[in-house]
């Protein structure tokens, strides 16, 4: 259950931004979570709802944008399908994940008089 530690890092980061901008109340956080990031969306939501209480994120909404994984050949850019052997059919090189492992805080919407 590493989702709790991810939420702890998330709330710390939001608190830093609130300090920097004189933020008082956070309304919404936008995060991007890849389907192959190792983060379980439901657990992340539960962890956020538990941990946000009495923090700068109390009452805030967590908007999660999930990202499907994709692979492509690193040299010829040919797409390699999910579930296939992760090697380029044309040139035989190992495929590179182009998306799907994101664990990113994109944007914070907060009441911040100093911005």
């Amino acid at each position: 259950m590493h989702e709790y530690s991810i939420v702890a890092s998330l709330i710390d980061r939001v608190q830093q931004e609130a300090n920097a901008h004189g933020g008082t109340r956070v309304h919404r956080l936008h995060v991007q979570i890849g389907e192959l990031s190792g983060v379980e969306i439901d657990l992340l939501k539960t962890a956020f709802e538990t941990f946000r209480e009495r923090t700068i994120c109390d009452g805030a909404e967590l908007a999660i944008d999930t990202v499907a994984p994709a692979w492509a050949c690193a040299s010829c850019e040919r797409t390699v399908e999910r579930g296939a052997i992760l090697r380029c059919e044309a040139c035989g090189r190992p495929a590179r994940m182009t998306q799907g492992d994101e664990i990113i805080l994109q944007r914070i919407e907060m009441e911040a008089p100093n911005v």
Binding site: S5, S9, T24, G38, A95, R96, I104, R107, M110, V115
Partner: protein, 245 residues
């Protein structure tokens, strides 16, 4: 509009961040990596489920390496020092990182352990992660390579069930292969599964019990060792933005 005083609704401003949520862990990992590089040692993050044979593989590695390589290890353990005790007995200088209820090691825990580690003079340093095929995969610890142990008793489908762990692996060690004659285990099926989740798929078959494959594993490690450096007898060779106790 507020009906009492007439003030406007609070202004909500968007603040763009676009940063990894684990950026704090990543910063510690960068620091650990420079520590390892400064000492000219190869750091390996060894992961796998509980009982996959991580400690046994390291014991066999120490036995096969003999005096040739100086090995070190920190072992993540929820509650005991058993792994570090076993490794010390096998000749690997070891200490425990007690994680309590935490299911994985993070870069900060490893950093703290490095400061208390008794020896700077190691060639290969293993970070034996907490037994778990899920959580450890997402934390960079500053290692040069991720190695995942998968024992033949766990079944061929584990790479497909835990794709994140295998996606991040630089090498899979298929362990306990001495048991294969007693099992319905299909090596070709696990090789296929690994190739569907691990881009540069590489798997070595090993047995800590018989020693099979341990030489190939040692060779894999040797090929990744960095060029030797002048090691400080004590202290640190790299910049430290933080205070040490």
């Amino acid at each position: 509009m507020c009906e009492t005083c007439g003030c406007g609704d609070p202004e909500i401003v968007p603040i763009e961040i676009q940063e990894r949520i684990l950026s704090d862990n990543d910063a510690h990992a960068v620091h650990n990596r420079s520590h390892f590089e400064g000492l000219g040692l190869l750091a390996i993050n060894l992961m796998g489920s509980p009982g996959a044979g991580k400690t046994a593989v390291l014991e066999a590695t120490a036995k096969a390496a003999g005096e040739r390589l100086k090995l070190g290890a920190v072992s993540g353990d929820l509650a005991t020092d058993r792994d570090a005790d076993r490794l010390n007995a096998s000749g690997i200088v070891s200490s425990t990182i007690t994680t309590g209820s935490a299911c994985h090691l993070d870069a900060r825990l490893v950093h703290r352990a490095l400061h208390q580690f008794p020896s700077n003079d190691r060639d290969i340093f293993f970070i034996e992660n907490v037994g778990n095929l899920v959580c450890p995969a997402i934390y960079d610890l500053g290692q040069a390579a991720n190695v995942v142990t998968l024992s033949v008793t766990e079944g061929e489908d584990k790479p497909l069930k835990y794709p994140v762990m295998f996606q991040k692996a630089d090498l899979v060690l298929l362990t306990k292969v001495d048991l294969i004659p007693h099992l319905d285990f299909d090596v070709a099926a696990v090789e296929d599964a690994v190739a569907r989740v691990m881009p540069a798929a590489k798997m070595l078959k090993v047995s800590a019990k018989t020693g099979e494959g341990i030489d190939a594993w040692l060779q894999w490690l040797e090929e990744r060792r960095p060029a030797p450096v002048e090691r400080p007898a004590k202290g640190h060779s790299h910049e430290h933005p933080h205070e040490h106790n």
